[in-house]
Amino acid sequence: MELKKILISPIARGAFANSLEISARTAIVGAILGALFAWALVSGKPGSFFYRFSVALSSVLAQFGGVMLTFAFLATFGFNGLVSTFAIKIAPDSFLAQSDWLYGMTGLSLLYTFFQIPLMVLVFLPTLENLKPQWREASDALGGRVYEYWFRVGIPILTPSFAGATLLLFVNSFSAYATADTLINMADFLTPLEISSALSSEVGGANPAEAKALSLFMIIVVTLAMTFYALLRRRVSKWEQRR
């Protein structure tokens, strides 16, 4: 049976582990940086051009990017790229001056953050905008300091939303295909790449059964993540003002 064959196949397991690892990594990094940036946006002027521009740019990078982000990545860190040329001049020994990390886990993770951070900005902005100013005022009126507000009120309230958003990012990079496909030529590196090669193999015959079995595993992971997400949302909606 195909499912069993995949369960014991070291290649499929390796790809699956890679997929999970890269999704977890980029989800956490993206969530933290994205949330910080979203906070910086919210604490500024909401109607300003900078705000609108940032949101639009985040939107483009998070959802339109794909293939084009790979080229952005290569133009930045790849051979003759902006940062790598710079690094060769300034610090020839740093890893930025080398190129062997580009087409592996590190490179792909870095590339994924190009769309994970903007997605987090988009996801987290509404949450931050829904924080009631009254809570802040209450904390201030009772003599709370800025950090006390954040550690005792802000962060505890935001934690479920933050975790939910992180799960969303996890699912997002878990199912990402375009960037990985254009950057990496190894079919066995990530599960989506494996599915695609099983579906339309140029070398051997295509194996739709394998593709379906692998898809099932992906669906299981996504379903688990989305279930947790729904549970977290339920907690969130207790306090969040729904539109």
Partner: protein, 264 residues
């Protein structure tokens, strides 16, 4: 809310760091695409931008992707919008299931979706046509979460029940109510949804690549294999084009967010 100078410094640091992190790749693209085209040339050149129109398949692919986007927009206008209105108006009990159904494509990875639809598309390309325009079918499914969100928000903002009742008492038919009365009032929502549809169709790669259709993104990837500079130039141009498109979206709050995430 008082803002201390400490807070302002933190804000500045965060904006500078993350903002640069996101902007540097774009600047690098500009830098890369104006690099000397041939070895031995030293000065900056716009050569990679000039040869864009001469790229094989590119104009054709853009044209096809735009036609596909147009068909998707028509499907939104005549299928999804009326359905959403109907559900809001007459079938409130179906609202929740309908919403969940519309959000499903957000959760299901595109790659899994391809596994599902590939037999169908193989049949279509053998028996009907090989034109990539047939992709508009699966695309209109893919964009459901985004269009539904903007439509639903627009429908919630106006009192469509009163409008519909008034129109019906005055003798309007059902189609008149939907197309003549309600649709104009949720114009902004429909326009937003359509912008999103264009952006998503132009940016789609997974499905078209695996099903072997030469859409815009597939052609960009193909150019990238032969000429990096040109691929970077095309990529930057299309990123800026969509950025411009999104800045045009008429929406006061959260302008230009494709994804208005407020799921579940």
């Amino acid at each position: 809310m008082k803002q201390t100078w400490k807070l302002k410094i933190w804000r500045g640091i965060i904006i500078a760091t993350v903002g640069l992190y996101l902007l540097v790749p774009l600047i690098a693209m500009l830098d890369f695409s104006t690099k000397p085209f041939v070895l031995g040339m030293n000065s900056r050149t716009l050569e990679s931008w000039k040869v864009i129109p001469a790229q094989p398949d590119l104009a054709l692919a853009i044209g096809r992707s735009l036609i596909t986007a147009l068909i998707v927009m028509l499907l939104i206008l005549f299928l999804i919008v009326p359905t959403a209105i109907w559900v809001h108006l007459k079938l409130p009990s179906l609202r929740r299931p309908f919403e969940l159904l519309c959000l499903l494509p957000l959760a299901i990875p595109a790659i899994v979706l391809v596994v599902g639809v590939s037999p169908l598309y193989r049949w279509i390309s053998i028996n009907l046509t090989e034109s990539p325009i047939t992709l508009s079918g699966v695309y209109s499914m893919l964009i459901l979460p985004y269009t539904y969100r903007s439509l639903s928000a627009a429908l919630d903002a106006v009192d469509i029940h009163t409008l519909a009742e008034a129109a019906t008492t005055l003798g309007a038919t059902v189609s008149r109510v939907i197309f003549g009365i309600i649709m104009p009032t949720i114009r902004t929502g429909i326009i937003n949804g359509s912008f999103i549809a264009i952006a998503l169709v132009l940016g789609e790669y997974t499905i078209s690549n695996i099903l072997n259709y030469k859409t815009f993104q597939v052609v960009i990837a193909q150019i990238g294999r032969s000429n990096g500079n040109v691929a970077v130039a095309v990529s930057l141009a299309s990123l800026l084009f969509v950025l411009f498109l999104l800045l045009l979206i008429p929406n006061k709050k959260r302008q230009g967010a494709i994804l208005d995430v407020d799921i579940a």
